[in-house]
Symmetry: C2
Subunit: 195 residues, 2 copies
DNA sequence: TTGCCTACCTAGCGCTTGTTAGGTAAACTT
DNA sequence: AAGTTTACCTAACAAGCGCTAGGTAGGCAA
């Protein structure tokens, strides 16, 4: 498979991703994906085996980016609270770098069938565990309050995951702004200090 | 339409809601909904005009419950920060009272077609505005810090909306527990006080 | 020049979809 | 008893779905 083929396949994945993010996997037909490529539906099968291949590749590529971003943070020697800050920033960076990818990652995985679905669930759990470990450690060190570690982890992840619903590169905030603000709000709270 | 018909229609909406929450609107066929009712697909049309009717009714019923819960809080004479606390608790109460309904409310609205889709978007915006007003007021009164009101509002709503993804009536936390914890975390932050 | 490969084409195929239309048993009303 | 209504039945219908198979133009290699 040469560069042209790889390029076309990337184009195909990008078209599929955009449509899956906007309409949902099930509501998107292979004919619509082919239309976006200016080819016929039958032609897609020169690049893929099944429609689900597209979803699987989009989801595993997104998962790879999340892990690639967070692993250096987890493996660093930073104090735990700073690790947590950096991990949030890394996650936000991945989301803002590809909002559509993040949207598909959050919402379309349930359309996977076995064995892909279990594999994806295992990866997502693994990723969540990385955050949960940092939270547990930060609680143990006294950097975080006496909060339920699972609850706190879910709060953090759900707060940063909704960013794909509103972030726009054209918006006023940079990804760094967003990461800093959301980390401050999560760690320090919305309340005015001293009240 | 008598009690029996109303009962059957409620049963139909409940079956549809359960399947839409678990599989998604598009991935759920009217045959599957009919199967859940022990009737044939064609029989559904004695109760509904179209498949979308089901989604529309589920979503508008959910929106009604959110507004019914929050309007008394908004119209009360409480200080704003206490209003916000109560509004969050009211929202959490609606979610925990019907997790499936909340799931459909959060994820399936995009399968609505016009004019339902615009109507739904308008209602959701109206609801968000109620929260945003309280946040703006709390910032103005100094109860909340110098945070972006839109950002803070989105943080609050997204944090409480993910509850449908993990809450179970069989779980260890009551809805009141959850509401208190999440409000504390959002207002006071995850960080240990004094650090 | 010939043969091979690739990325597309067309033309389906078998299946599923949402929905409709005519029918009917049972319950209810007159 | 007769007529009406309701909630279901069956049997489609038309459209769209994911995918396959045979074909081909163009590019490339021998």
């Amino acid at each position: 498979m040469g560069d042209v083929a790889t390029h076309r396949r990337d184009e195909l994945l990008a078209a599929a991703e955009e449509l899956f993010a906007r309409r949902g996997f099930q509501a998107t037909s292979v004919r619509e994906i082919a239309d976006a490529m200016n080819i016929q539906a039958g032609s897609l099968y020169a690049h893929i085996e099944t429609k689900e291949d597209l979803l699987w590749e989009i989801l595993t590529a997104a998962a790879d980016r999340f892990f690639d971003a967070i692993n250096p943070v987890v493996g660093s020697d930073l104090v735990t609270i700073e690790k947590l800050r950096r991990a949030i920033a890394a996650h936000v960076g991945v989301i803002t770098n590809s909002v559509k990818s993040a949207a598909v990652y959050s919402t379309e995985w349930r359309h996977l069938t076995e064995p892909h679905r279990s594999e994806f669930a295992a990866r997502r759990d693994e990723y969540e565990k990385l955050f949960r470990s940092m939270v547990r450690e930060a609680i143990r060190e006294g950097a975080l309050g006496d909060v339920d570690e699972k609850f706190a982890t879910l709060l953090i992840l759900s707060s940063i995951n909704w960013i794909y619903q509103w972030y726009s590169p054209e918006g006023p905030m940079t990804p760094e702004d967003i990461a800093r603000r959301i980390t401050d709000l999560l760690l320090n709270g919305l309340r005015r200090a001293g009240t």
